[in-house]
Amino acid sequence: MKKQKSMTEPIFNRFDLLSDEIVFLILDFLNDDPLDKKSFSLVCKSFHAIESRHRKILKPLRSEHLAKVLIRFPFISYLDLSLCPRITDSSLGVISGNLVEIDLSNATDLKDLAAASIAEAKNLEKLWLVRCKSITDIGIGCIAVGCRKLKLLSLKWCFGVGDLGVGLIAVKCKEIRSLDLSYLPITNKCLLQVLELQHLEDLVLEGCFGIDDDSLTALKQGCTSLETLDMSSCQNVSHVGLSSLTSAAGCLRHLSLSYGSRVDLALADSLQKLSLLQSIKLDGSQVTCSGLKAIGNWCASLTELSLSKCSGVTDEGLSSLVTKRVDLRKLDVTCCRTITCASVAHITNSCTSLTSLRMESCTTVSAEAFVLIGQRCQFLEELDLTENNIDDEGLKSISRCSQLASLKLGICPNITDKGLIHIGICCSKLKELDLYRSAGITDLSILAIARGCTVIETINIAYCKNITDRSLVSLSKCSKLNTLESRGCPLITSFGLSAVAMGCKQLTKLDIKNCQNIDDTGMIPLAHFSQNLRQINLSYTSVTDVGLLSLASVSCLQIMTVLHLEGLTPSGLAAALLACGGLTKVKLQASFKALLPPTIIEHLESRGCVFQWRDKVFQTDRLRSKILETTVGRGGMKQFHDMV
């Protein structure tokens, strides 16, 4: 050994000429694949040490070795534990003072003791505790006292935290910029203290039912630094409370009033003082025509508007608004089922600089409207046309939007290869494409997309029955692909899957439900090459014990749905479940519950795995097609969608 080392030393010396800083800079570019840095660190001890010192971000999937890992990477400043199953209080005992950001979302088992450990990270600036339900005011109090530099804190769904905890945060952490208090049982008491924070810019009060008009009108001063305010689902707040809250918050730029009170003239008038208001979210509210018109009149700097699932959005109101607000960048009219081509004509006519248009389920908009979109809104980056009447003419027109990154064409039965090939040719920046149940699509479209849109990351070809292995082979050239949904594509085989597995190393999410021709021969290359796979759905495939067991070599695998695999035996399943150490969620047939040894289930649950038992009747192919026929025959793809 020693001889070997001395022989290799000259090479080391040459590399030692590079200072650590230069190597760090090189490492900064190794971001595409997390495995790259791992490979680098495995070269030699010196590289290993450099990599250890370089790493700032840590997002482990398991918390068992957290203590060792934190010792190896002493300069970690951002620790994301949101993917770890079952983080316990004791696993957080190792938290060091270097950490600047910690994400503990979904660690539902965490208690106040863990919060006390977090409080040891004195330099902490950002902390997410989403869904940490067991933490109470006491724990938050510890954090408030310990982490005085906190700038961001998310306490969403921390039901154990109330006025006292939040109030103490407001008293002790004066640096807070962003505070998420969604769904907390808080009242006006702590809001008073929160609004006294000098630097508060972003406040989320979503679903805080304890806050009402009476308490808001009692507030003497608003927060002058506030820029973003989310009061979604605050059902007890009307325009009265809102106007008193916003009276002093003249800097407010983003406001969300989703699922709140009726958007009428009175509410729109209360927005009049907010001259800097850039974005308004009114999702799920009842909207009046006069309200929309007033918003168009008052909000001079409006660039983003969301009316998703709003009732009462008419052509008149929407047209009046968009003709006044020509600077609009983002517009969401999802499920506004009463608007027609007239609205789209006004939108495209005035708001030519739109970058995002979401109009899922605007079923009354006729096909010619989509031609207008392509002609006039060429800066579009995001376009959601799910469940619309768009046809190939419309697609051809939309292909002019060369900046397009996200295109959703789910349940658009009128589109074919003819239109989609234009997209593939022109939209080279496309990252996300949704073709769910757009049954007119064949391999030709996918070939064009795979060739033209090489940066594509997410593709959904579910229930496009005509897709074959050729599509998958072509997609295997898209090295950035991380999500593939190909449910119900009966022509896809293990060959296509193994091609994707070999080509797309980034694959993290795979859904091959109901691809009966995929069997164990597809699983083995998948297990070998797709080391980043986190989520897989294998229901109704021909995979057996062998294939499932082979997946155990994918150490990242966390979520698995295994329903109705004919070749699966209880012992094989038990072995696979035990072998996959990182599982957090497994969907299984209820019949297996009795067949699996209870000790194994107990053991897996103690590791942090959650079982979901499904009791669906096995649907044969024939039955399936029968359902398909009847529902489509009755008309309405939507109903069909809902049923299956």
């Binding site: 209080d89 006491i138 510890c142």
Partner: protein, 512 residues
């Protein structure tokens, strides 16, 4: 003296004295009583002359020489007046003239009352108008005479301390009064106590056994009155209740008890066997055993409070501890409202805390009632700060933390222990609930051992160390907080001095 008793006394007086002016006498007595008390209150405690016994004797003699019809109280007052005048450039002639004036006026008064009495019967037949007119005239006459009598009597009143009259050697009744006096050793009350005693001494010379009755009656009355006040005040325990009170200095009388008197466990002693009691009622019950004369309803009855209390000067108390804000010599003296306030204040502020809570073995009190109040809540204070302070309410804890830098809420210990690991879980379960108070007494014990070192074993209650084994010692929640900066570190700063081997604690030698 309650009215019934008074009637009783009057009734007794009637046949015994058999004097023509019964009505007057009783009225006079009434008046005298109030003035007497009034006068007693005005006495300044600072001035304490020594009154030679001879003076009292002589005054008594003088009293007899006068042979007036007036009541003994009256004679006492005269006697006092003579005395005071003698001290401050005493002029017997002026006093005598005043007295004769008084006598004259009292005669007038008596006549008038007779007249009223006589008229009452005649008027019944007359018209209402005339009756009203006449009555008004009579009332005006009566008022003017009373005013004159009072002012003259007032001129006789001395402005000096009369505690000297109360000298134990004064009067024949010394033996009888002394025990009572001993009980009420309150210096400032001398005058009050002495008044009856002097009275008694005068009465006792009267040949009738009425006087003996009177002695009992009066001593019992006065002694009890004092005690009654104490009992009453026991209800108010807060000695800071008068914080906001702004009495102008001099508008109240300052009384100060000595330390020994404050700390005396009993304030009522049996004159016969010397047994002490906290309450006069208990003493009266006890007295029954000493003879039938103590079993009379009069002897057993609860003496009533003075009816003319509004004329009494407000009493305030001073703490005997020099330098205390509650001491009368303090620059910004704040008097204490009641005698019990004063007692409690003195015990709380200037005495050792001898009552320790047996439940937490940490809290100590100098007033027993405070301990009892604490015991009601002990163990219920579940909201704990890192500084060791416990709160019964969560919002109080958070208010405390918001106020102080570096304090943080302490995570409940049972939670800390639960996460230690599955291996420890077995032994934890039994002790999780009561761990909080235990680590507090641990802390306080350690501190005390360091401080005293005389007999350290006495500080360790069996709960702490006697029964604790090594395993239990480990249960103190050190694990998650071992850093010196941890919120619990203060708790273990002391405990860390000792290795977790309980064997070392067996003998005191190891500790120093």
């Amino acid at each position: 003296m309650d009215p019934e008793e008074r009637l009783c006394a009057d009734a007794r007086t009637k046949p015994l004295n058999n004097q023509p002016f019964i009505g007057f006498s009783s009225q006079q007595k009434n008046w005298e009583d109030s003035s007497l008390l009034d006068y007693g209150m005005r006495i300044e405690p600072q001035i304490s002359y020594f009154n030679p016994p001879t003076e009292t004797q002589s005054s008594l003699a003088c009293n007899f020489n006068n042979q007036t019809q007036i009541t003994s109280q009256k004679s006492y007052q005269v006697n006092v007046a003579c005395e005071s005048n003698r001290i401050q450039d005493w002029d017997p002639r002026s006093t005598i003239s005043s007295l004769s004036f008084l006598e004259k006026k009292i005669h007038q008064l008596r006549d008038l009352i007779h007249f009223i009495n006589g008229q009452r019967g005649q008027f019944t037949g007359q018209s209402d108008e005339l009756l009203v007119q006449q009555q008004m005239l009579i009332t005006a006459d009566l008022t003017s005479i009373i005013v004159q009598v009072m002012s003259t009597a007032g001129s006789l009143l001395p402005s000096v301390d009369h505690s000297r009259v109360a000298n134990p050697s004064a009067g024949v009744s010394e033996d009888i009064v002394l025990p009572d006096y001993a009980v009420n050793k309150v210096e400032d009350d001398h005058s009050r106590v002495s008044n009856p005693s002097t009275r008694v001494s005068e009465n006792i010379v009267l040949p009738e056994n009425y006087a003996v009755n009177k002695v009992e009656d009066l001593t019992g009355y006065f002694g009890a009155e004092e005690n009654f006040a104490v009992e009453d005040h026991e209800l108010k325990s807060d000695d800071d209740a008068d914080e906001g009170e702004n009495l102008p200095p001099g508008s109240y009388e300052i009384l100060q008890l000595e330390k020994e008197e404050i700390l005396a466990p009993h304030t009522h002693f049996c004159t016969i066997c010397g047994k002490g009691f906290k309450r006069d009622a208990n003493l009266r019950m006890h007295m029954r055993g000493h003879g039938d004369e103590y079993k009379t309803p009069a002897a057993l009855a609860k003496p009533n409070k003075e009816s003319s209390s509004e004329s009494i000067l407000i009493k305030r108390y001073s703490c005997p501890y020099v330098g205390c804000k509650r001491n009368k010599d303090h620059k910004r003296f704040q008097p204490l409202k009641t005698i019990l306030c004063m007692k409690n204040h003195y015990k709380r502020s200037h005495c050792d805390k001898t009552y320790m809570c047996s439940r937490c073995n940490a809290k100590k009190f100098s007033v027993l009632a405070d301990l009892k109040t604490h015991e009601k809540h002990c163990g219920k204070d579940k909201w704990l700060c890192s500084c060791g302070t416990t709160f019964s309410r969560k919002d109080k804890l958070f208010g405390h933390i918001a106020l102080f830098q570096g304090h943080s809420p302490a995570v409940p210990v049972d939670e800390a222990k639960a996460s230690v690991g599955p291996s420890d879980r077995g032994q934890i379960s039994e002790a999780t609930t009561k761990i909080e108070p235990r680590d507090f007494n641990f802390k306080s014990n350690v501190m005390e051992v360091k401080g005293s070192g005389n007999d350290p074993t006495s500080y360790f209650s069996p709960l702490d160390f006697g029964t604790s084994n090594a395993g239990e010692f480990h249960e103190f929640p050190r694990l998650p907080f071992e850093d010196s900066e941890s919120s619990f570190s203060f708790l273990f700063s002391g405990s860390c001095d000792y290795p977790p081997n309980t064997g070392r604690y067996s003998g005191p030698n190891n500790l120093e």
